[in-house]
């Protein structure tokens, strides 16, 4: 695979849509074990009735980092067959994701840039719920390198 050729095929504005992800108590329990994050925010209905200073919730919430995992899956699934490498992800959580919500990732190519040593694609990331409300936004960066970063050791 020629990194330059694959890089040249990508145009600014191109949008990649990830597979939807629906949150349930099962996905939360799985993510908790996978991440070792057993914060009661994700399990305890009574705890969530309490006040968190200025923050108030209406039930248990999905782990914020589940967004990260779904965004990463979307990027890697698209990049791997094209010889691109997922290099950076930055997100802010905008609104909590609750049980029964379905989130979908959109990654839109914001710009491409060639540097001294490589080729980079910057994506705008927008994760929306079933009502079209953004739950997380951010940026990602992929590299189309001639030499694979991190050969097997």
């Amino acid at each position: 695979m020629c990194a330059q050729a694959e890089f040249d095929k990508i145009d600014a504005g191109l949008e990649i849509t990830g597979r939807p992800f629906t949150v349930s108590r099962e996905t939360i329990a799985d993510f908790a074990l996978g991440s070792l994050d057993f914060n009661p925010l994700h399990f305890d209905d009574n705890y969530m009735d309490e006040s968190f200073g200025k923050t108030q919730f209406k039930g248990v919430i999905m782990h914020g980092m589940q967004n990260f995992a779904v965004i990463t899956r979307t990027l890697t699934d698209w990049l791997l067959p094209r010889g691109g490498y997922h290099r950076r992800l930055e997100t802010r959580w905008l609104t909590p994701v609750y049980l029964g919500d379905t989130i979908t990732v959109a990654a839109t190519v914001q710009r491409k840039l060639e540097t001294d040593g490589s080729r980079w694609v910057v994506f705008d990331i927008d994760v929306t719920n079933q009502d079209g409300v953004s739950v997380a936004r951010g940026e990602a960066m992929a590299e189309f390198a001639d030499v694979f970063p991190g050969a097997a050791h």
Binding site: M1, F21, T27, D30, F31, A32, L33, G34, S35, L36, D37, F38, N39, P40, L41, Y47, F52, G53, K54, T55, H63, G64, M65, Q66, F68, A69, V70, T72, R73, T76, D77, L80, G83, Y85, H86, R87, R88, L89, E90, T91, R92, W93, G138, F148, P149, G150, A151, A152, H153
Partner: protein
């Protein structure tokens, strides 16, 4: 080095809650106590499945061999579990009510089965905004060769 086994970790974050540093006690720049963990093919596959990432790159050696990676790697998002895996029950990131506001991560090289991963973690800053107590934290993960796997920064609201 200890192999990472997810089932061996305490899943009650209320346990030893009083041993954890509060926002007042967190000192920016001070290193958090960490321990290295060794990741296996099994735990990589288990992690990927549990977080909902079904790419065969993380569990199918025959598939992974044909990719530029040349074998199974861990998902870049492995840092999600490494932060808890490399810290113990007293670490302040386990305080119930910790609210994650956002994170940014740079991925240098992939983690691979057999890697022993070390965490260096600090709070970089703490501040008050809109009556909320924030901490900024920075973590870096390296492998047994001293190579950087990934580095990241996070913003959390600390429980009062």
């Amino acid at each position: 080095m200890a192999e990472l086994k997810l089932e061996e970790y305490e899943n009650d974050f209320w346990k030893d809650v009083d041993n954890r540093k509060t926002w007042d006690q967190i000192i920016p720049g001070e290193l958090r106590d960490t321990k290295p963990v060794t990741i296996t093919t099994d735990v990589i596959a288990q992690f990927a499945r549990l977080i909902g990432d079904d790419n065969p790159l993380y569990h199918d050696e025959a598939f992974a061999k044909k990719t530029p990676y040349g074998g199974i790697i861990a998902p870049p998002s492995l840092h999600i579990v490494l932060m808890f895996a490399c810290t113990d029950i007293n670490d302040w990131m386990r305080s119930p009510g910790t609210i994650n506001c956002g994170q940014s991560w740079y991925y240098n090289i992939p983690a691979r089965p057999g890697d022993t991963i070390t965490m260096r973690g600090t709070a970089l800053d703490k501040f008050i905004k809109k009556e909320r107590l924030f901490a900024v934290h920075e973590n870096a993960f390296t492998n047994q060769l001293g190579q950087v796997i990934c580095t990241g920064r996070g913003w959390t609201i600390r429980p009062v």
